[in-house]
Symmetry: C2
Subunit: 193 residues, 2 copies
């Protein structure tokens, strides 16, 4: 149940065996079937979720009913609406499982208690945030500078696991493209080879 989590933690910091045992007690295991939701738009996001198995997406919906995917999370990644989670505000995002998934959940209180009791857990969280910040910065730069085709090929190079595993129209949504445009972009790429 905790393999992926401890792998993720140990890549960044060192915990004592006692700390690891303590750590376990704070997480709530949760299974989600495909299409089940961890968070619904309008609700308050009370969990920070670590993905042990499966894949999830978070997305917002515009007035026309179009979904816009802001994040994917596969094994070893975290997902939440941080803004809603930290400020108890209503979320504008929905978080949904794209496959049957196994999660480890932290409430705000559990997360804070863990950080107070285990300083290295706070460091782990900081290091995660640094990586997420860098990834988001890169994505913003990509949105500002790249064409549809560049966005798609670069995503495929950076995260082949996600592009292979997720329906194409969701990749389009994540890149800010329509499914039709992505289909045409892919056609152009294959025609060129």
């Amino acid at each position: 149940m905790f393999q992926q989590l401890f792998k993720s933690i140990q890549e960044k910091v060192v915990l004592t065996p006692e700390e690891m045992e303590l750590c376990k007690t704070f997480f709530i295991p949760k299974k989600l079937r495909k299409k089940q939701m961890l968070l619904q738009e309008g609700d308050i996001c009370i969990y920070n979720a670590f993905v042990e198995k499966g894949i999830l997406r978070s997305f917002s919906m515009d007035e026309k009913g179009n979904e816009h995917i802001v994040q994917f999370a596969i094994e070893g990644w975290w997902i939440t609406d941080l803004s809603s989670f930290l400020t108890n505000s209503n979320s504008i995002y929905t978080i949904e499982a794209l496959e049957d998934s196994e999660l480890l959940l932290l409430t705000t209180e559990a997360r804070e208690a863990l950080m107070d009791k285990i300083p290295m857990f706070e460091r782990y969280q900081r290091l995660l945030l640094q990586n997420a910040y860098i990834a988001n910065q890169a994505r913003i730069n990509s949105a500002l500078t790249e064409t549809a085709e560049e966005k798609y090929t670069n995503l495929g190079n950076a995260y082949p696991g996600i592009v292979k595993r997720v329906p194409q129209h969701m990749i389009a949504s994540y890149l800010g493209l329509t499914p039709e445009t992505l289909s045409r972009v892919r056609k152009q790429i294959t025609n060129r080879i």
Copy 2:
């Protein structure tokens, strides 16, 4: 020299007077004149900069020579290329002062030493990263869902200080628009009133 910095820290955590004194010794004060650079594209970003006074931007350049602004930083904000700063890689960004500015610089080593010696400084860094993450997430969602006009009005509402203080074509660049398009968007808005 340290007013803004301690204001920023004290909004998030509590430091003892001794810790505050210790803290000061790690920062390098630096003044930049308008148009001077803190970081040039291709160089390694060796500083994490806190803005005591003034305003800076970080931007990337595409093949056509167009600049794309990824961040502004005014008094009380931090700016760096985190990816380059943390991994000693060559930066794809340039960081430049838009007005005469006063900065407090931290090297990677100084930042790490501070976090080791003052746990609350690490917490402060984590809380900064959380806020930055939320802001970046919002910007990604904005890029995916909003029209040119919505982007502009929302930015003006969220950060009036920046929109007033910076040339219009730089606001356009930050929003991923051409200066011409932003000019037309603004005209439409005023015509409508």
